[in-house]
């Protein structure tokens, strides 16, 4: 018996075995709860499944064919693309400009930095509730101020043309602190003598930024842009809290539409909703791959 235990002990202590012991909980979890559903998703798009799991039928590419003529799908795709195309460049540029100011380690700027990071720590749910009330056309203080400033009857989130831009602004407000803090770290790691050398050559502030700062932060810039692009394509929390996709479906995002099709619109069509999710997956896969290649090239180019 003791002999057996000792043998088990030596077996388990072999580095190769130990590695598998260390890894197995994580790998099992990922296989079971990420890769299994992901592969199931690829098949599910070809089935007609409702949330009650009755009368499951194989329908071939019918779901995908239906997508082509589904106006709500195209609308959601358009809204999501609009959101991403504005929030990613706008938010990144804004974070970077604020970072340029707060990067110096004076007490005041450190303090501002930690204040500006606060929205990142808070939930989109709570912040969405606050912003929706601030912008409420009847009780909101922002609506009152805009009235005073002469924008009479501005309906904020209830205005179909302005709902999405306001959601974008709120998103930048909530998230810019994250990339700001990463940019600050990247900016602080640029050696001071690079700037000195540029100044001796007579470079102004703008030239220094373009020729010294930018090339140095390309990898970090790429990271921030790619992650915020993926996050923007996943737009859901803000619109779910603040507009539920309205008015006139003008803020309905892809994920919002997937959620509605599957869980809140009768008949709850899980197969069709998954087909939409697949399209979204292909889009973000292609976009992030293209971006990744672009930034890797830039980085390599910068080193030559």
């Amino acid at each position: 018996m003791e002999n057996l235990l000792a043998r088990a002990n030596t077996y388990l202590n072999k580095p190769k075995v130990a590695a598998w012991v260390f890894l197995s909980p994580s790998i099992l979890c990922l296989l079971l709860f990420v890769f299994v559903p992901l592969f199931v998703a690829f098949g599910m798009g070809f089935f007609d499944i409702t949330i009650f799991f009755k009368n499951i039928r194989f329908v071939g590419v019918a779901n995908y064919r239906e997508l082509l003529h589904d106006q709500r799908f195209w609308n959601a795709l358009k809204n999501t693309a609009y959101f991403t195309a504005c929030v990613v460049p706008g938010g990144t540029a804004f974070s970077l400009s604020v970072a340029l100011y707060v990067q110096k380690n004076t007490g005041f700027r450190r303090f501002i930095r930690s204040l500006l990071y606060v929205p990142v720590v808070c939930s989109m749910t709570a912040m969405g509730i606050v912003w929706a009330m601030l912008m409420d056309p009847t009780i909101g203080i922002f609506a009152y101020w805009s009235d005073i400033l002469g924008m009479r009857n501005f309906m904020f989130l209830k205005d179909p043309n302005w709902a999405m831009p306001l959601i974008m602004l709120m998103t930048v407000w909530k998230t810019f602190g994250l990339s700001m803090i990463i940019f600050v770290a990247a900016l602080q790691s640029i050696p001071e003598y690079y700037y000195e050398a540029a100044r001796i050559d007579g470079a102004g502030a703008l030239t220094q930024f373009i020729h010294v700062t930018l090339p140095q932060i390309v990898p970090v810039l790429g990271f921030c842009i790619v992650t915020s692009t993926i996050q923007s394509f996943m737009l859901f929390d803000q619109t779910y809290i603040m507009t539920r996709g309205g008015p006139l479906f003008r803020t309905e995002s892809m994920v919002q539409y997937i959620y509605s099709r599957a869980f809140s619109l009768s008949p709850f069509r899980l197969g069709y909703a998954t087909a939409i999710a697949e399209v979204l997956f292909v889009i973000i896969a292609v976009v992030s791959l293209l971006m990744y290649r672009f930034f890797v090239k830039k980085e390599a180019g910068g080193m030559q």
Partner: protein, 278 residues
Amino acid sequence: MMLKQNALSFSRLMVFLGICIVVLLVVYPFVWLILSSFKFETDIVKYPPGTWPSTFTFEQYVRVWHKLPLLRMFVNTVIFSGSVTLANCFLCAMAGYAFARIDFRGKEVLFILILVSMMIPFQIYMIPLYIEEHKLGILNTFAGLILPRITWPFAIYMMRSFFVSIPKSLEEAARIDGAGEYRIFGAIMLPLCRPAFLSIGIMTLVNNWNDLAYPLILTNTAEMRTLSAGLALFVGQRVIEYGATLAAATISLLPLLLAYILLQKYFVKGVVMSGLKG
């Protein structure tokens, strides 16, 4: 020269003003939220709206407990995000250690698997996950909420970089003394992980505490809702309770805000590491 000096200080002034506006815009909603949660309902909806309460009252904080199963939601959120955080720290440290320190067959393939799963957003496979949990019978249970999140590919990646940066000499002495992998990991590596645990733990805690779509889909009764999901559904109801909603929102934010004030350094550290290494 004089003119240039003036122009310089003028543009400096403009930048300073700009940053002041940004700070005001960031801070104001929080000030408004906290002050308004101490207002009477009539004070919130009065015209013209104001920021400062006419009279301070705890009424909303008393009422909200009857309007919402707030305690239940709070406990759920603590159980869910707390156990996910603890599990993440240990399981990701174990996995990161194996990737950083042990040579074994299939290591590259597994590491690519981790990197790939880092890039796949949950929203893509949320419906099959919902079905899977339904079939396993863990939908709307703590097991169903916690199990899919016990590991986090991103944290594994971070822990791997952390262990790579630790000098090998530390464990070699122990190895010569005949200590096995588990002893080395438990007695030497884990104690070194404390700062890494703090920053990764905080990131996991914040992400899961605030998550909306995930608990919204995987729970379907009031008893299982987290703060985020419960609040989202509360504001979706027909009757809008402004004061109670604001009080509930304040309560849901308070723990993380307090943690941020106390542990600010670690909140930022994890994020910065991820940005500079990614």
